[in-house]
Amino acid sequence: MDKNIPGIMRQKRWVPWMYLLPALVVMIVFIVYPGLNTMFLSLRNDTNSDWASVNCSPDKPCWGIFENFRYALTSPVMKTAFLNNIKWIVIMVSSTVGMGLLIAVLADHVRYESIAKSIIFLPMAISFVGAGVIWKFMYNFGSGQVQIGFLNAIVRAFGGEPISWLTEPRVNTLALIIVGVWMWTGFCMTILAAALRNVSTEILEAARVDGANEWMVFWKIMVPQIMPTITVVVTTMVINVLKIFDVVYVMTGGNYGTEVIANRLYTEMYASYNPGRASAIAVVLIIIIIPAIIFNIHKFQEQEATR
């Protein structure tokens, strides 16, 4: 990289640092310092007056200085949150990537490609809060005769009993995940469509001439060729899903068994005023996320190098 810079452009030693200074200061104050501070806080008690170990009571299990982590990893509500996050990851990642790929492939064959893609992509521009309102209305449950929620109206039309989608524990997490899928499929579609465009048309044509049908072309040629992109999209989505907060906060507030990790963090911090526990949850979150991000950056650099 250094060789690319014109030697003639050498300057006084302090000049580059003047260009870097504003960015460096802001980033150190707002990312580096709080990141380290959170790790410290996670080992402290709820008022940051002593180590977390003072919260231990003699007749109960205790993790000493890591007492907050005992809460973050073993408490019932966090177990629910972990289970729900796993549900979110499995269902949402597979649906967004699958749907995104399907739409990207299909839209390639039609003349209204850009309209179709815009429609799928539009929810990306909307806030989670806006999407929360849209879907809360879709899921609306009227106790009387009238159902103004679209889904319950359909259920009624087929002679079923209306369902309270957001409070019924068997379906509510799924109902929230659908909102996430609605919002993020456009993201997957866009990146996968760009990758599909790079698949060599000659190979595709050759395969078709040799008598391969579209199904085989898709699975045997397209998918293997864009596999690196698919893995990047999958890991990016896993990271996004792990941090999911707004949908849950707006639609159920984490009640009725829909708790997720990031919402729990917010609740601990701003409803229970326990920064120690909240920090411990944050540390757990980053420890889960880091491998995915490292993997992603690695993959991305590989792709860049071969471009």
Partner: protein
């Protein structure tokens, strides 16, 4: 020729069906919101939004029970003109109407051989007659929900009619000052702008400087410092909220615009530097070389060359940062809260406090969505480009 075209069309039919089906599924919830936001309050809670495509409520029941005698328009029997508001006004509730239908007129049963409608049908018929008689003149669409949402109106009717009769609540003035009502979306809209615009400009400015240094300047540790900064993308936002809000509490920055601008700047920077460095670094070195040979300083090269050339990257970055901040709830909730409510905060509050005030909620949600949708549709090209360049953002 024709048959081959037909068979080709037939072959692509499943593609069209699946794709259009998916697109309809995707857009249907948004259409529901949009339609509802323009419907009168009573309609919103009585009927689903999709019924605007069908006949008016009670029309079917009226046709089967009343139209044979009273006529389609309701004025076939002169002595019992159903379009007369005085006549229909006598029947306030469905049981009033039912008892009339069950009674005899001139010694004959009212309904003659027809079956008397049940309670629900009678209620629908009554509401239909109230409409055709003009007692309840409800337009199909109205802007009232938007006016109410903008001004933060929370009464039983709507802002305009309350102001007309002088019954408005104490916090409303019925003039332009209501746009500043802390409960209203009008104020929140300006707060959102006040947060998003500076918090978009600052990181772009800082990252351009830094990216220029990383691309075209010599200094020790350039490579590892860049790697480190890009690596900061890893840190999730949630991890930094707690220390920063404690810091802000000490500095008195909680609930101030400055506090939230700086926070968004800090968080936007790693990705912005990464994107700008990739773009600036890919510009041909010859232009910088010749500029420098002509005696240009770094400052001139930065202002006159680097910035104008990187407009596409700056555009992608600006759109991303702007939409991200505009749509953000978490940071606004933590650092701004109720002091300067932004759109997302306001809606979040309405969801929990209003419950089923759907006419207000839908209008409010659409107010918050309108700007990002326009930005997105107009500048889609840059949006997609930024997405593709930075799909690693953590």
């Amino acid at each position: 020729m024709n048959t081959s075209r037909f068979s080709r069309w037939l072959k692509s039919l499943p593609t069209h069906i699946v794709l259009i089906g998916i697109c309809l599924m995707w857009i249907l919830p948004t259409i529901g919101l949009l339609v509802t936001s323009f419907r009168p309050l009573q309609d919103v809670n009585e009927t689903g939004w999709w019924t605007i495509f069908s006949k008016q409520k009670g029309y079917e029941e009226y046709q089967s029970s009343c139209a044979p005698c009273h006529g389609e328009d309701g004025n076939a029997v002169p002595s019992a003109n159903l379009t007369d508001p005085d006549l229909v006004g006598k029947y306030r509730r469905s049981f009033n109407l039912l008892s009339l239908l069950n009674s005899e007129i001139d010694g004959q049963p009212h309904m003659e051989s027809n079956a008397v409608p049940d309670e629900y049908a009678a209620a629908d018929i009554l509401s239909y007659m109230r409409r055709i008689s003009g007692i309840e003149e409800r337009p199909m669409f109205t802007l009232n929900n938007y006016i109410d949402a903008f001004t933060g109106y929370r009464g039983r009717n709507n802002y305009l009619s309350d102001c007309e009769s002088g019954e408005q609540s104490l916090d409303l003035f019925c003039d332009v000052r209501d746009l500043a009502n802390p409960r209203g979306m009008g104020r929140a809209f300006f707060n959102s702008l006040a947060v998003a615009v500076p918090a978009t400009i600052l990181p772009i400015l800082f990252s351009s400087f830094a990216a220029y240094a990383f691309s075209w300047m010599h200094f020790k540790g350039r490579k590892w410092l860049f790697a480190l900064l890009v690596g900061l993308q890893v840190v999730p936002l949630q991890m930094t909220l707690i220390p920063i809000s404690r810091l802000y509490a000490q500095l008195g920055l909680n609930g101030t615009f400055l506090g939230i601008w700086l926070f968004h700047t800090g968080f936007g920077l790693p990705y912005a530097i990464y994107l700008m460095r990739n773009f600036l670094g890919s510009l041909p070195r010859e232009i910088f070389e010749s500029a420098y040979l002509d005696g240009a300083s770094h400052w001139t090269a930065f202002i006159k060359l680097a910035i104008p050339l990187s407009v596409p990257a700056l555009a992608s970055l600006a759109i991303f940062q702007f939409l991200w901040i505009w749509n953000d709830l978490l940071v606004a909730l933590v650092f701004l809260g109720g002091e300067h409510p932004v759109l997302t905060y306001q809606i979040g509050n309405m969801v929990t406090s209003l419950g089923s005030g759907w006419h207000l909620l839908t209008a409010a949600a659409f107010i918050s969505m309108a700007l990002p949708m326009v930005v997105f549709l107009v500048l889609q090209r840059y949006f997609v480009r930024g997405l593709l360049a930075g799909s690693v953002k953590g």
